[in-house]
Symmetry: C3
Subunit: 176 residues, 3 copies
């Protein structure tokens, strides 16, 4: 009986430790996600800037070869479920940039601080939060509690190249 | 005569101290505003994240039971005056979250740094600043000079649940 | 022969130092740009807030007397080239505010950290990045590598007073 309690207690502690401090790279592997190479902008800006321990990431669309969910307006061309998928695909590109910015060690992330989720929206589309959940869910799967961020999820009149979702974020890194 | 001058001098200093360092909770009481409980998000994000002395607040709509001004597009369903009222109601919810984030002591606020005021706008609505003044005015009433922030007030194609106004902000807290 | 090599080496080093550490005021002069006086907002907000070494600049439109490119929607009233010009004009106003915030010494800028470029856009206008390049190009001309920022360039349903472009930015200053 006591043994069982002890076992459950240890299990509970282990799960909590796991939830609080996941290894982001191991999590990505479990999720079957391989990060692409971070892309380089073609104009006079960069994908990220570090200032102190804060990383500012540029607005990202999806990267790599576009799929059916990556272009179009929500509430007109795409369903909310497709938008969710698009936001998840954008999150993977944000993670690729973050991986580049941390020298390949996502374990340096102390906290995902702020996400601005911009959804290419028809004037009567009201489900931006369910779309941006595609990004928020993945960040939480990869970083656990550290992945939970302050967020806005809002509707844009249009986005570059008619991409469906653009997301920028602010991330705090561990002291070096 | 000298007494009068001395009195006026003291009055001036007192007013200045008062203007610079209001007690935010006393100000709210004077304004007849009772802060609601801070709401909890239902998805994988949070209402605020603290990073060092900086607080990042999620995009907020109005909280509690919605009123006639809380839903709809400016320039189509609502007047600028109604938008002002909506922005004020959103500011009250931001203050409720700020109160939660500061452990119930708004006196810890060193400066409201940045406000992004997003107005659900018809394509020909151009009065976003007068709408977001509803938030800026309240912040200044509550915090005095500390409440004066950098700001953008802009028109969105649509907002979650067709809310009329969504506002996010960055706040600096006093060193602990 | 050796002398020539030495000269070329020194020239190369000098050019690199110049590229990395331009004097922003000299660059502005070369570009034929005179900064206007920073404008003052008429409501309860300010053009910039400093928090530690970080400067948060309010959303800026163009300043001074408006020209043909400063008002209207991209994809309806204005071409991308006109938008580029408008974004450049907005950047000049941001620099005027930055000049005010640094006490007239743009050399205090350590890095332009983040730019949010908001373009007044018809629903089918997709060229926001080429518009906001008007700002990014000028920032890079004035500050060199320090001017390269994280960026989002997105389409708004409408902007205050029907301005064509509104830009806000975050700038890191040198330690004092």
């Amino acid at each position: 009986m006591l043994k069982h309690l002890f076992f459950l207690l240890m299990l509970g502690i282990s799960l909590q430790v796991y939830a609080q401090s996941p290894n982001p790279h191991a999590r990505l592997k479990e999720l079957g996600i391989t990060l692409p190479e971070a892309e380089k902008p073609v104009a006079n800006f960069v994908k990220w800037v570090r200032s102190g321990n804060m990383l500012y990431l540029s607005g990202h669309g999806s990267c790599g070869a576009p799929t059916a969910v990556d272009r179009g307006k929500l509430g007109k061309d795409l369903t909310t479920e497709q938008g969710y998928e698009a936001a998840k695909r954008v999150a993977i590109c944000l993670l690729a940039t973050l991986n580049d910015a941390t020298g390949g060690d996502l374990g340096k992330v102390k906290r995902v601080v702020k996400v601005l989720g911009m959804v290419n929206s028809a004037p009567e589309f009201y489900d931006q939060p369910r779309v941006i959940n595609g990004c928020s869910d993945l960040l939480t799967q990869v970083f656990g509690e550290k992945g939970k961020h302050a967020r806005s999820a809002v509707g844009m009149a249009s986005l570059p190249g008619n991409i469906s979702v653009e997301i920028e974020m602010v991330v705090e890194l561990e002291e070096e």
